[in-house]
């Protein structure tokens, strides 16, 4: 499977212009990664250079999702209440949705792969990651949220830059009753590998890039294995609960390694389902962000079911 990554690297090098994060977010990630000495003023000064982003950060930070609804009126408050990495994660979430929110220009692809429902799935997976991380003490909940949000971003890279291959995978999955992951192997693509490459190019923490990159192929000896396991189960759970759509309707098999790494036997499944439903109501602010980016695709989206 390392070949996977190498091959995806070659695929991605053919792509001229990879999507880039807003320069402010990129600077922020560097600032927070490089130094332990960042201060509130530095961070707020940097963010306030981008007013559209600031507005989105405040909108998200004020949603029920972060627990301070309607209480945050300045960036400074947001940074103090959410913390440096909390604000980074909010900024990242807003930017990524913005970056890819409205892809899907090919009607043939749009028919099989509705970008709005894709984001619904990603947001569901993100919310499940965040809940599971807290419940199972499996890493930072907010960073887990971002990892879940990005876990299938490789599929959007395919929509945007490899549309022929994407269509082939989607059709294959549909006609053979395969999962997207099974079908992409047939054309030697790896959405997880593509995503990992992009996320590395964005200089995000390795826990995010490997959490995304290995969510279909857990490497138990890696330090980041718990994150990848978390994403795998959150993805599975989101599909089990039929939230959104990411290229196929199936619940994928669970890798026993993921189960063991996370100690999933500790989870009360019934209670977790109820908490997840509640969490998704709070997460509707993210869905709103997607909707505000969507353009109607020619010929309309895929039918809901």
């Amino acid at each position: 499977m390392p070949d996977d990554i190498a091959r995806m690297q070659r695929v991605i090098e053919r792509i001229d212009r990879l999507p880039t994060l807003p320069s402010i977010v990129a600077k922020l990630t560097r600032l927070l990664a490089d130094s332990r000495t960042a201060n509130v003023k530095e961070v707020t000064t940097l963010l306030s250079e981008d007013q559209a982003l600031t507005a989105k950060i405040l909108r998200l930070a004020n949603s029920a999702y972060y627990g301070f609804p309607g209480q945050i009126s300045t960036l400074q408050q947001a940074v103090i209440l959410l913390g440096f990495t909390g604000v980074r994660d909010v900024a990242l979430s807003a930017s990524v949705i913005d970056l890819f929110g409205a892809t899907g220009k090919q009607a043939a692809i749009a028919e099989l792969f509705d970008v709005g429902r894709f984001w619904e799935h990603s947001i569901g997976c993100a919310a499940a990651c965040r809940l599971l991380a807290a419940e199972l003490h499996a890493g930072d909940p907010e960073e887990s949220f971002v990892t879940g949000l990005l876990h299938d971003i490789g599929k959007l890279i395919m929509v945007e830059y490899l549309p022929d291959e994407m269509l082939q995978v989607l059709r294959r999955a549909r006609t053979r009753g395969e999962t997207f992951f099974e079908a992409e192997k047939g054309v030697e693509l790896s959405h997880a590998g593509l995503a990992r490459y992009l996320i590395d190019a964005w200089n995000l923490p390795r826990s995010i890039s490997e959490g995304v990159g290995f969510h279909h192929s857990i490497r138990p000896r890696r330090e980041t294995a718990p994150r990848a396991a978390l994403v795998q189960f959150a993805d599975l759970f989101t599909r089990a609960r039929a939230v959104g759509y990411s290229g196929d309707p199936f619940v994928p098999p669970l890798d026993p390694k993921a189960e063991e790494i996370l100690g999933l036997e500790r989870l009360d499944l019934g209670a977790f389902i109820a908490r997840f439903d509640e969490e998704m109501l709070n997460a509707s602010v993210f869905i709103d962000l997607v909707r505000s980016r969507e353009r109607p695709a020619p010929g309309g989206g895929a039918p809901r079911r």
Binding site: P253, P256, D277
Partner: protein, 113 residues
């Protein structure tokens, strides 16, 4: 999008927002087209008013979480769930999740439908 008192609801109106109970459980999903049967239920659940789509408004639809449950026979809902779990039953934990999802959906149906 406009808010309409339950006494003025008419069949054919479309919900602009999902209806949830106090615990946040989904009763009817957004974009549900109201029938007489639904309107009766909305009344029996004790809502005073609901938000429906207005003509020509391009309102942002509110997300729908999970399987559509209401107005569908249980056998059909269950068959959908069983089908999507078909590739994953090697794991006892996933089998338990399948039953938990079904119990959750059955709970919604029994309670409100």
């Amino acid at each position: 999008m406009r808010t309409v008192p339950v006494s003025e609801l008419q069949a054919g109106m479309v919900l602009a927002k999902p209806l949830q109970d106090l615990a946040g459980r989904m009763l009817l999903t957004a974009r549900t087209e109201l029938t007489e049967k639904y309107i009766q239920r909305v009344r029996s659940w004790g809502f005073d008013e609901v938000t429906v789509e207005g003509e020509g408004d391009e309102e942002e639809p509110v997300p729908v979480v999970g399987d559509p449950v209401f107005g569908r026979p249980w056998d059909e809902i269950e068959a959908d769930v069983r089908e999507r779990f078909g590739k994953a039953r090697a794991s006892a934990l996933v089998r338990a999740l399948e039953e938990a999802v079904l119990a959750h959906l059955k709970g919604l149906v029994d309670r409100y439908a």
